[in-house]
Amino acid sequence: MAKRFLIPAAVLMVLACSSDTTAMSGAGGDSDEDALIVPEGLAVTALAGGNGVLDAIALTLRDGPSGPAVYAALRNDGEVPACSAAFSLELFDESEHSLAAGIGGLLTQHFYRLTDGSGSIAACVGPGEVTMVAVTDFATDVAIEDVAHVVYRSPYFALDVVPIDGLTISQVERVTRGAGAAYTGTLVNGLDVAVSSPSVTVFPVNRVGRPLGIAIASGTVELPPGGRWAFETNTVAALGVDHVAYPAGALAKQRRP
């Protein structure tokens, strides 16, 4: 059974910051293990002027494998599924100069089908659901200590959809690999179409559910409906007290009009 992202109700109340002008600040609890925003003092704000339903509730900015990396958790605080959503962000310094920009797609554990008759499958974040994203492809090198503000916007499609069985992940375990750790498990294709290039993204999280990094498993197999794929991610530093896993892949056969 896939690990689900569970945040204590009391924490969720604190995290409910749907206002466009409300900034979250990197303050944390007793340590990084309780912090929702890291580094401390980092301000995280939705772009003013109508961000929509997806709100950042936890974020880590740190040096990644190839420059700065942002790992974020967002929650759908609206009443409709947010489909094919992205997390677009810009980093600013203390004097409010732009330092870099990046974007990533929001991963999801739930799948939907459009009701417009097209039969299209959509990845959507349902109301109340928490999703995660890794942004590691910033165009420029940025010193983490120079970043004072993160401004984000999460565009999405508010589609008319119904939930369907999708890709599921089960039996996820962290295993020791040398000085680090990897994650193993099984991905099952519950869709009614074949899926190619399956992948699993695992986010280690701290005690309050803040994503700390990612580990990725990518396959080249094609999974027919009902097919299973045993995966193992790359080796990463052993981080966090828990983890959350998200499946992905490509539809093997195209739907064409």
């Binding site: 772009l47 961000n51 997806l54 409010e96 990046g102 974007i103 990533g104 999405y156 064409r256």
Partner: protein, 557 residues
């Protein structure tokens, strides 16, 4: 007794005489420097050419943007009823190529391009005409880890041109709000999958000051040159004086040769000045650049007044005009930001959402009240900025004309209608003929479906959300506010070929631009048929340039 000038009149002697005794030395110095620079650029021997682009996001209200007339002479009267009205004074110097389509359109059924994202694949392919990678085949893909990070598999037009034309080998990319772009908004790629970073005002201005003629107050001659007087006019009296000397036949021939040289290079020498004075006249000063380049978090830097008459965006235009005048770079792109909040226009909803006629990022829902009015405001603002840029360029004498005349200055928009994301029927307007290469004072209908028709459609941007209330619904996936995809589909690749040829870019034997080539450019990009982009690089067999060559209809002759 008549003085006999018997010494050989070589080039150095002549210049020393002119520079030391007759003509202001600083002026001559700048002449030689300018001439030397100009000779390294296309159009050597004439006025240097520049390609200046203003790029904005999220389309326009097409019904109001385009003049009703779609083919024929362009007059101020044609522009006055449209959002292009601020450009009416320049009608004779404008060219509107109608019916152009950009490549790789996103649709919900993947009918005209890849399935990555309505903006990521569009901006990535816009100036590259290349597909993006990684490819996504599902418009609502759950393979989200890569679909928004897709980048084109080749370089963009600005880099292709700059590799041949710019001393640096790179374009000048100005980010007009000091923003950084990601793959959902970036347009400039120096190579495959390599996003190019632009400059803010402070950075760009700093790069120019080193080119200024320092400690040289403007002499009358320099001023006259700035006003477009040729050098041969300025030194005519001195040449006449020399000609009265009793000199040998050989020296007379040399003097005539010098006069001829001055006549030939006069237009270059009298080209636009690169001085702090010109910068001040335009508004491109260190102080203004600093103000315009200040941090943009939470503020509307574009519309903030920097001087009594210029806002932040205008300062970038002034820097672009000064850069053109300094021949700092013949390829200049001014990139306006995406996801912008035009607080200064009284608009409190972010521009991308407004383009969908919504108050949120959802791309579907109840109409934002007065959304169309807001979009018209934004369209008018952009037009005013382009008009100000055009005015600046047209105020700088250059040879027998102005910097504008020697340039192709083009306003491109990411898409046609912002809600529909359609890439046919693109709003494109050009100012300047690039030294006589292009027609001006004209609208040219290039649409293969309605060739030269004067009544082609202006689109359907006003088909929804028009009553000013939230009572209607709008859907960004249905393309209801766009233009029929069968109309206005002339490939943008051909226009890019026009622009490259106008600027002097050369191609290899295969017709694709190639440094060191000698042929005319006839091909650009992966394909000139947007359907060839479905599935990404290599997925469609036979993807190619189906219609090589430029648009002959846009040529002056």
């Amino acid at each position: 007794m008549t003085k006999h000038l018997n010494l050989p009149l070589n080039r150095r002697t002549f210049l020393r005489g002119l520079g030391g005794a007759i003509v202001a030395a600083p002026f001559l110095g700048s002449i030689m420097e300018r001439a030397a620079k100009a000779q390294s650029m296309p159009g050597a021997g004439g006025v240097p050419k520049r390609f200046i682009v203003m790029f904005t996001h999220y389309g326009c209200i097409t019904n109001n943007w385009f003049p009703t007339k779609t083919h024929g002479p362009l007059t101020a009267d044609d522009l006055m009823p449209t959002t292009l009205a601020p450009l009416a004074p320049f009608a004779s110097k404008l060219l509107i190529p109608r019916g152009i389509r950009a490549m790789n359109e996103w649709t919900a059924n993947r009918a005209r391009g890849q399935g990555n994202d309505p903006h990521t694949q569009v901006v990535g392919s816009y100036f590259t005409c290349q597909p993006v990678t990684p490819n996504s085949n599902d418009p609502f893909s759950f393979d989200q880890a890569t679909k928004f990070n897709a980048k084109p598999v080749g370089p963009s037009l600005d880099h292709v041109m700059a590799q041949q034309l710019s001393p640096q080998g790179t374009p000048l990319l100005l980010n007009t709000a000091g923003q950084n772009d990601n793959t959902q908004s970036g347009i400039s790629y120096s190579a495959a999958e390599t996003l190019f970073r632009g400059l803010n005002a402070t950075q760009a201005f700093s790069g120019l000051t080193g080119l200024f003629k320092q400690d040289a107050p403007m002499s009358p001659d320099t001023y006259a040159a700035i006003r477009g007087k040729s050098v041969v006019d300025l030194v005519r009296d001195d040449i006449d004086t020399l000609a009265r000397f009793d000199m040998s036949g050989s020296d007379k021939m040399k003097l005539e040769a010098w006069k001829a040289l001055l006549d030939q290079t006069g237009t270059v020498m009298a080209s636009a000045a690169c001085t702090a004075e010109l910068g001040t006249m335009l508004g491109a000063t260190q102080a203004n650049a600093s103000k315009a380049g200040m941090g943009g978090l939470g503020s509307d830097r574009l519309t903030t007044k920097i001087t009594d008459t210029l806002d932040g965006a205008d300062i970038y235009s002034a820097i672009a005009a000064l850069s053109a005048s300094c021949n700092a770079n013949p390829v200049i792109f001014m990139k306006y930001p995406g996801n912008y909040l035009f607080k200064g226009l009284g608009i409190n909803t972010e521009a991308h959402s407004v383009s969908h006629r919504l108050d949120n990022a959802g791309m579907q829902g109840s109409c934002l009240p007065n959304a169309v009015s807001m979009l018209l405001q934004i369209d008018t603002y952009y037009t005013q900025k382009f008009a100000n840029l055009v005015k600046m360029l047209d105020s700088i004498p250059d040879g027998s004309g102005t910097v504008l005349d020697g340039s192709a200055t083009v306003w491109f928009n990411e898409m046609s209608d912002g809600n529909a994301h359609n890439l046919n029927n693109l709003p494109i307007i050009q100012a300047g003929s690039a030294g006589g290469y292009f027609k001006t004072g004209a609208i040219v209908n290039l649409d293969p479906a309605t060739p030269a028709a004067a009544d082609m459609t202006n689109g359907k941007s006003m088909s929804a959300c028009m009553d000013g209330t939230a009572n209607q619904m709008i859907n960004g996936t249905t393309q209801s506010t766009g233009t029929d995809p069968k109309i206005a589909t002339a490939p943008i690749n051909k226009y890019f070929c026009n622009l490259m040829n106008a600027m002097g870019v050369k191609a290899g034997a295969d017709g694709f631009p190639a440094k060191g080539g000698a042929a005319e450019v006839t091909k650009f990009g992966y394909s000139d048929k947007t359907e060839d982009f479905i599935g990404g690089d290599g997925a469609v067999a036979g993807a190619t340039i189906h219609s090589p060559g430029e648009f002959a209809e846009l040529r002056a002759t």
